[in-house]
């Protein structure tokens, strides 16, 4: 019991630190060819004051509702079958997210069998993995409401080029 207190205090400080990072997150974010990233180069979403989302967040909405929602439910809200990502994306790091999507994950027990498939060789997922990541981040942390984003930025030329290179088409 006695030991718990410093731990809690530490957690409290960490929380504050995280909040501080969060608060400065907007400023630290930068845009490159229509794609937003944090100071350390992790992809992120952008929502303009009028609600316009960046192309990749919008694209992530589309790809999520093709590839992911039949298990994880509409808008990342979860289903009877698989967990809601709006919650788990608050704590899952970008590298861990990539790892789980590419390699899959199994939690098979007596009461519950939960299996995330390995999607690493699925171009419909992996060519848009950053898009899906930033969309879910926007749902988890950016206050993006449920449903189709009302307004979006135009598709940047870089997105087209990436798509073609990724699928190996011209």
């Amino acid at each position: 019991m006695r030991r718990a207190r410093p731990v809690l205090a530490l957690a409290g400080t960490l929380g504050l630190l995280l909040l501080a990072i969060e608060a400065t997150g907007q400023a630290a974010k930068k845009e490159k060819n229509g794609k937003w990233e944090t100071a350390d180069g992790t992809p992120t979403f952008n929502i303009a004051p009028d609600g316009t989302v960046d192309w990749y967040t919008y694209s992530g909405f589309r790809r999520y509702h093709s590839e992911c929602h039949v298990c994880h439910g509409p808008d990342g809200e979860g289903s009877t079958y698989a967990p809601g990502l709006v919650q788990s994306m608050k704590t899952l790091s970008y590298p861990d997210f990539m790892q789980v999507v590419a390699s899959g994950r199994e939690a098979v027990g007596a009461a519950r069998q939960s299996v995330m498939p390995a999607l690493g060789d699925n171009p419909n997922v992996m060519c848009y993995i950053d898009d899906i990541y930033v969309y879910l981040k926007a749902r988890a942390e950016g206050g993006l409401p449920r449903g189709r984003p009302a307004k979006r930025a135009d598709k940047p030329a870089a997105a087209d080029q990436h798509e073609k290179a990724c699928f190996g088409t011209k």
């Binding site: 909405f61 589309r62 790809r63 509702h65 093709s66 590839e67 929602h69 039949v70 298990c71 439910g73 509409p74 808008d75 809200e77 979860g78 289903s79 009877t80 079958y81 809601g84 899959g104 199994e106 098979v108 009461a111 519950r112 069998q113 939960s114 299996v115 995330m116 498939p117 999607l119 060789d121 699925n122 171009p123 419909n124 997922v125 993006l144 409401p145 449920r146 449903g147 189709r148 984003p149 009302a150 699928f167």
Partner: protein, 606 residues
């Protein structure tokens, strides 16, 4: 062609030579009203029981007699079987089978649990549901999620034989029950969302040896069709009827799986089933070489096949060139009813596309095609003029054509949604009233197709969709209704808060039963739908209501355990586009009403 016909003929001879062939047994067992020996009640898929102890007057007194937990949390579809003094209960993955002793309130006589690789779980698209075991000749037929077909001794649970029907690594899985007919067991396959090429396959009921396989698409010899003798709407289908309607090799990953209920008519020896959607969901990618719509035969079709040889007698495509995932696998109910003042041998089918079809089941002639939900808007209806080049084809409304609107365009307000005006949840037919009792969805969608590429064993979808309750209606997501299939008219309709995802049961007591996603079992009057009884079971109901009688007492039983497509689409509630983009509507989230858990509840009168 001739080769198949000869093989079939010799097999038929063998079948008749064996005394007590399985078909006799299924007919005998389903002929006993005290039993529920087939998932569909009988070969005709009536889901009607002659038991009449529970009536419109006394159903309000129903009490729980006993309950049974399955120990599995996933969605529980299908129903128990009762044969003699034993009840057979199945579960979703891992597909456990329990034999329960009705003489001792469901004491477990034996339990069978197969070992399956859990990697099949995420390949199953929309939950690991299983629609139940079949019984014939003291054998229980279990068709596992990983497509292993197992024959078990019905008294001991011991394995008799095993056969493997498909490969989950390619996306081939199973959710359906099997059809025991004569000396065979006929099985289907799932996986159209993974680009699986659909088929039905017959196995020897005694040994598990594969006898024939009939694909839904591809070359004539693979499909077991005869270009001259197999007909569609009364005309021979001709050579290469499927190949001609696909662009290049797309048919090889073309879908058209068969995962629904099957029915069988002993008089004509034909069995009936429907085929699923073409893959992908992006119609632009499936267009013909000229960029125009092309039929993609025989996806979205009803097949009548000879039960001995598998040869197709007739086939009818309901939704040529699907643009909305209106998968055609729903059940086909065989009933002799009045159509246009004449008694006809009909097949009645409530399709996902929102149209209810009445066909002559012997010839495949189309008699009635009508909307069974007034919200249906993607079509103006089916052309019934036999002289029209469009005869038998639904007329597509351009505004709701996801193909005409094109790739990367969000087509809004299409009714019904991809889960259909009705999904697999089977309707019931009562010979007392001549009416069909239909569990339905009342949900519409926005649908945006886009380009996808195919990888074996990976989802092959290619569309974003969002769903919402039918606008301008009662605000709920379902209806339970009575249908006149002779005239194509709704007789009565009860609104429901959620989609009705439970199979109906009609009884000689004048009572019709069904379950709801909140978990209620409801009893209504066959005449007007008036609610007579309700009881909230432990979890949402996506199973089918069944009835049996033991030691002179009638029981009604249903599996609870929410899940399936309903659990995925509705667990979080649906958004309402009319309330402004992104707003979460006042529409109920299923998770506010019920939680996971498989259990059986058995009712009787005190």
């Amino acid at each position: 062609m001739r080769r198949y016909a000869l093989a079939g003929a010799s097999l038929a001879l063998i079948a008749f030579a064996v005394p007590g062939a399985a078909n006799q047994d299924v007919l005998q067992q389903t002929g006993k009203p005290e039993q529920w020996a087939l998932q569909t009640g009988d070969y005709a898929n009536h889901r009607f029981s002659k038991l009449s102890q529970i009536t419109r007057d006394n159903v309000k007194n129903l009490k729980v007699a006993w309950t049974f937990s399955t120990g599995v949390l996933r969605g529980h579809e299908g129903s128990p079987l009762v044969v003699g003094d034993i009840m057979y209960v199945h579960t979703p993955f891992p597909n456990v089978v329990f034999a329960l002793d009705l003489n001792e309130d469901g004491k477990i006589l034996w339990k069978y649990e197969p070992k399956q690789d859990p990697s099949v779980i995420p390949v199953m698209c929309c939950d690991t549901v299983y629609r139940g075991v079949a019984y014939a000749d003291n054998t229980i037929y279990l068709h596992q999620a990983d497509t292993t077909l197992v024959a078990l001794d019905a008294k001991t649970g011991k394995e008799k034989w095993k056969a493997v029907n498909g490969d989950p690594k390619k996306g081939e899985t199973n959710t359906a029950t099997v059809l025991p007919v004569k000396d065979k067991v006929i099985v289907g396959i799932s996986g159209a969302e993974f680009g699986v090429r659909g088929h039905v396959t017959a196995y020897d009921a005694k040994t598990g040896k594969q006898l024939w396989r009939a694909y839904s698409l591809g070359p004539d010899q693979d499909m077991l069709v005869d270009p001259e003798k197999t007909t569609s709407l009364g005309k021979p289908i001709g050579k290469d009827s499927s190949l001609k309607t696909w662009n290049g090799d797309q048919w090889k990953i073309g879908g058209g799986t068969a995962w629904g209920w099957m029915s069988y008519d002993p008089d004509t020896n034909l069995f009936y089933y429907g085929t699923a959607n073409p893959s992908t969901w992006n119609p632009v990618q499936r267009a013909g070489p000229d960029g125009k719509p092309i039929d993609q035969k025989w996806t979205m079709s009803l097949f009548a096949r000879d039960a001995d040889t598998g040869m197709a007698k007739w086939v009818y495509q309901m939704t040529p060139f699907d643009e909305w995932d209106y998968d055609g696998i729903n059940e086909n109910i065989l009933a002799d009813i009045d159509v246009g003042g004449q008694k006809r041998k009909t097949l009645v089918h409530f399709d996902r596309n929102g149209l209810a079809y009445t066909l002559d089941r012997v010839t495949g002639e189309l008699l009635v095609a009508a909307k069974y939900d007034p919200a249906v808007n993607w079509t103006t209806g089916v052309v019934m003029d036999k002289n029209s080049p469009q005869y038998g084809r639904p007329q597509v409304v351009s505004k709701y054509s996801t193909f005409q609107n094109g790739q990367d365009v969000n087509t809004k307000g299409v009714c019904p949604a991809a889960l259909g005006s009705k999904d697999q949840q089977p309707a019931a037919y009562s010979p007392r009233t001549g009416l069909f009792y239909v569990p339905t969805n009342h949900v519409c969608m926005d649908y945006e197709p886009f380009k996808v590429s195919y990888t074996a064993g990976q989802p092959y979808v290619g569309a974003t969709l969002s769903m919402f309750p039918a606008p301008g209606s009662h605000g709920g997501m379902g209806n339970f209704l009575a249908w006149d299939a002779g005239t194509g008219k709704i007789v009565w309709s009860n609104p429901e808060k959620f989609s009705v995802w439970s199979g109906a049961l009609a009884t000689a007591g004048g009572v019709v039963f069904y379950g709801t996603l909140e978990g209620y079992i409801k009893a209504v009057d066959e005449k007007d739908g008036k609610e007579l009884f309700r009881f909230k079971t432990p979890s949402g109901i996506i199973g089918n209501v069944m009835t049996y009688s033991h030691k002179g007492k009638q029981y009604v039983a249903v599996l609870s355990g929410v899940g399936g497509w309903a659990g995925i689409g509705l667990a979080a509630g649906l958004t309402n586009p009319t309330e402004g983009l992104g707003a979460v509507g006042g529409y109920a989230a299923l998770r506010d009403y019920t939680a996971l858990g498989g259990s059986l509840t058995v009712f009787t009168l005190p």
